[in-house]
């Protein structure tokens, strides 16, 4: 069994401190052009609009629309759900996620042999960037992949809307169940 390793604490240790990414966090606000600002909800609890926008793009790469079933991260507004989830997290975890976003934005293109920012790339290039994190020789980048993957997938498949596609009929509480 594996429970959610959402925003793994190791982001903070090896990952963010090692990479000095926490120190760069303020850059995120100015460094990332918010591509989809219009779609960002007004009542974000933790993330800034630029961070939300980047997370939305990352979530769309982890759980795109179409393929085996239609529903994707954007249909559930997964980035906003993650923002709400982070509101109950320890501040250092939130800082960890911010650092991870930053590494995706700036380091993942380099890791996949591209220049520029993740959020400015086309879909195929973004997939290649995330894949480069997955197979990276750097434990830091692999941890970023594992942490963001868990965060996105756990919250996507915790949502009722995703269950029909899996054939999962959801909780039984409140339903009449016959005891053997």
């Amino acid at each position: 069994m594996q429970l959610p390793e959402v925003t793994r604490r190791s982001f903070l240790r090896g990952t963010l401190r090692g990479a000095g990414a926490v120190a760069l966090v303020p850059m995120l606000a100015v460094g990332c052009a918010p591509e989809r600002t219009a779609a960002a909800p007004r009542d974000l609890r933790v993330l800034g609009v630029a961070e939300w926008s980047l997370l939305d793009t990352i979530a769309d790469t982890f759980v795109p629309r179409g393929g085996a079933f239609a529903l994707g991260a954007r249909d559930l507004d997964l980035a906003t759900r993650i923002d709400a989830y982070l509101a109950n997290e320890r501040p250092e975890i939130v800082r960890g996620v911010r650092g991870a976003l930053l590494l995706v934005e700036w380091a993942s293109p380099l890791a996949s042999g591209r220049l520029g920012r993740f959020s400015a790339l086309d879909v195929d290039a973004r997939i290649a960037c995330i894949d480069a994190l997955r197979t990276s020789r750097s434990a830091t980048l692999r941890e970023v992949f594992a942490g963001l993957k868990t965060l996105c997938l756990f919250l996507f498949y915790a949502a009722d809307e995703s269950w029909t596609a899996l054939g999962y009929d959801g909780p039984l509480v409140g339903r009449r169940v016959v005891s053997p």
Partner: protein, 512 residues
């Protein structure tokens, strides 16, 4: 009386004879034995109070409610997810209800190598009382779901020994949600037997209260201090103090030593926080053809095991490996399956045809702990590196699990890894020998953290004596999974409860 933190409006300062810190497998049993013997007993529990009616069967709600760090506690390098319950009843509320006593070779190992001359008759009597209280019984054949049956069919067909667990369920409807709390109170954790009976006998229980420090008092006894905490963030709300003649730490193998450390006792206890076993487990999924509907999420999550490769000896205690099917919620499962994007969606769409198991590989106690204390309590740094010998057993075990699944008709076997290509048939089995065990690419879990306050006779190499009393600190005890010198069993609830029953009876027998 059970007082939940939210109901407390003013700082609490109490006196009692015995304070039990932690209400899980160890603490609940001690509290019950002492309270029923007439000892004034207070139990404090950092987590919240939940019963069946509170369980929603949703991963996103129950993991944060019932688990330490919402199930996110990791080793320092992120390789192992160290799971612990944190609620009224501790890990007994969220465990798989498998009841596996400590095997005889482990007791032999402890006697030979750690000086634990335990009386087998006394242990047997304690275990019998625990079994009776929990209502331990065999899982019936008709309660074994397909997820548990399939790989065991494969194993038996290969000539391997398999078994069905004993468990502590009564009136189970097979909903499949044991690991996020039973909504029907059918899984008989300590919150449904030991703790309510302790309360009936006069014990007072406080939930949402964290003890952080213990100070010996000049006139004898101790002052334990901490906070009533806000449920969820665990931030302090109100000061909480208890004066007690005796303190029993039962905060689990990560936090009992943290309290001793924060109380300034580490200097005289060089073994504190050392010799930690995690007994890590590797999740493995197997995809069956579309004609095979596994529907792993329904039924008792874990009911069978393959013990053919157990290698328990008096020389090293638990050894070898075993595999045990286990299903978890779909959200938890999603993050275990390798890959992302369209490929991952394709896998998830086949979930009805997926079976899951854990490969459990007992380890040597090689980990150690350190802690920082902040506003939200202790954060543990768990240092743990699997040994090459352990890694070799894990890879050997992976081959075996995959073989059993293929024998049962699986078309693909996927250990929890983001880089390892699935095994697509017996021709691929040899690739298991190169399975990578590295943080960020492999996902291991631990449900049996043990050993940070090892029991023994020498204060230089252990923390508590054979009575569970901290060396050099009369009246201060540790009674939980911390005390095992090496891994006690492939499943640690019964071993912890058995030791706790023995410990409490010894306290009573000595008139203390």
């Amino acid at each position: 009386m059970i007082a939940q933190g939210a109901a407390l409006r003013a700082p609490v300062a109490r006196r009692t004879h015995t304070l039990v810190v932690g209400s899980g497998a160890g603490g609940a049993v001690v509290a019950h034995a002492l309270a029923t013997a007439g000892v004034e007993t207070v139990v404090v529990e950092e987590g919240g109070h939940f019963l069946g009616r509170d369980m929603t069967q949703r991963d996103d709600e129950m993991l944060p409610a019932l688990y330490r760090s919402a199930g996110q506690q990791l080793t320092r390098d992120g390789l192992v997810n160290v799971l612990q319950g944190s609620c009224y009843g501790g890990s007994t509320v969220i465990n798989a209800a498998d009841c596996e006593p400590t095997p005889a070779p482990v007791y032999e190992h402890w006697r030979l190598h750690h000086g634990l001359a335990l009386d087998p008759g006394e242990i047997a009597a304690s275990q019998a009382r625990v079994f009776a209280m929990l209502g331990v019984r065999p899982i019936e054949a008709e309660q074994v779901n397909r997820n548990n049956a399939l790989p065991m069919d494969g194993a038996r067909s290969l000539g391997w020994r398999t078994g069905t667990f004993l468990h502590n369920r009564e009136g189970c409807i097979g909903s499949g949600y044991c690991m996020i709390g039973c909504a029907y109170d059918a899984k008989k954790g300590a919150h449904l037997n030991y703790l309510p009976r302790a309360v009936e006998a006069g014990a007072d229980v406080y939930t949402d209260v964290r003890i952080e420090r213990i100070v010996p008092r000049s006139g004898g006894g101790f002052l334990a201090s901490g906070f009533v905490v806000e449920r969820g963030p665990l931030t302090p709300r109100l000061p909480f103090e208890v004066q007690a003649e005796r303190i029993v730490l039962a905060a689990g193998a990560v936090h009992s030593p943290a309290i001793l450390d924060a109380s300034g006792l580490a200097r005289d206890l060089p073994a504190l926080g050392r010799n930690v076993s995690l007994q890590p487990q590797l999740p493995v999924a197997a995809l069956f053809p579309d004609s095979v509907d596994v529907v792993a999420w329904r039924g008792i999550p874990q009911s069978t095991y393959c013990s053919e490769f157990d290698a328990n000896t008096r020389e090293h205690g638990l050894g070898g490996f075993r595999f045990e099917p286990l299903s978890v919620g779909v959200a938890q499962l999603a993050s275990n399956l390798g890959g992302f994007g369209a490929d991952h969606k394709a896998l998830m769409a086949q979930l009805r045809h997926a079976a899951m198991a854990l490969l459990l590989v007992p380890d040597a106690p090689s980990g150690h702990l350190a802690w920082t204390r902040g506003e939200r309590g202790f954060t543990a740094s768990i240092d743990y590196t699997p040994t090459p010998e352990w890694a070799q057993r894990l890879r050997q075990g992976l081959r075996v699990v995959a073989d059993a699944y293929f024998e049962a008709g699986a078309r693909e076997v996927r250990p929890a890894s983001d880089v390892f290509e699935p095994l697509c048939g017996r021709r691929d089995l040899a690739r298991a020998d190169s399975f990578p065990i590295r943080s960020g690419v492999t996902r291991l879990i631990s449900a049996h953290v043990q050993g940070s306050c090892r029991m023994g006779t020498d204060p230089r190499g252990s923390v508590v004596d054979l009575e569970h009393q901290v060396h050099g600190v009369p009246g201060l005890y540790v009674v939980d999974a911390s005390v095992f010198p090496t891994s006690a069993s492939t499943h640690t609830m019964i071993p912890v409860m058995t030791f706790a029953d023995r410990a409490a009876r010894r306290m009573l027998a000595r008139g203390v």
